[in-house]
Amino acid sequence: MSNYLFIQSQDPFTETSTSNQYRLAQDLLLAGNTVTVLLVQNGVMPARQKAISKEFDALLNSTVVVIADKFSLQQREISNNELKNNIYVGTLEHAIDALLAGHKVIWN
């Protein structure tokens, strides 16, 4: 069993590979790993309540931990109360903590 953290900079509206990245996170979880997805840059765009992405919603309905980078949200004027459920707000500190803990950190 491993610990994975994906730094998710891509969004499903402009990058078709994003849906596969979401699925990989869920598959790794189903295989018994611990998985966190840290949304950064445009990766935070599907986190808005009115954003339509079945693939992202499936990620939220799994037990993958999803964190949205506060800075990226602020840049896009997305407030915390506009976010879908099951999304935590955090910082890049999470990525550094994971690296220092020896987790597998992957940039998407």
Partner: protein, 139 residues
């Protein structure tokens, strides 16, 4: 703040300056790593070798009537320099190697102090000796 070899992180980055939001995120990650007491090693390759180009110059914005000082245009060489100073003031190591092949292709030979020339074997060495490595690709 003290750090050991076990707290050294390597970052591999290939984006040029002034073109992608990834560059900002990359520098934010380095800053956060220093805040966590980690030593940092950067292997810059492809366009990222221009991040440390010493000839970078801030410019004004004549359309908006601002001079260079008012425009306060950010330069990646200054961000690197700031991180170097932050690391030194916290007794942390901050190493930076530009891929020599990529430097020669681009003629980016004038770089700021503390950024050195190397090659792909240095990335292997960095990664082998670090606690962890993050590779940030362009896609």
């Amino acid at each position: 703040m003290k750090s050991t070899n076990e707290q050294t992180l390597t970052f591999a980055f290939m984006d040029p300056p002034f073109e992608s939001e990834r560059t900002v995120t990359f520098f934010r990650l380095l800053d956060a790593a220093l805040d966590k007491g980690a030593n940092i090693r950067v292997f810059a390759y492809e366009g990222a070798v221009s991040l440390s180009l010493s000839l970078q110059k801030a410019h004004g914005n004549s359309i908006h009537g601002r001079n260079a000082e008012e425009e306060d245009h950010p330069l990646s060489k200054d961000w690197i320099s700031s991180l170097q100073h932050k690391a030194a003031s916290n007794n942390l190591k901050f190493e930076w190697i530009n891929c020599g092949l990529c430097v020669d292709e681009r003629g980016v030979t004038d770089v700021i102090e503390g950024c050195n020339r190397g090659g792909p074997p240095d990335l292997w060495r960095y990664a082998s000796e670090s606690l962890n490595t993050l590779t940030i690709g362009t896609r």
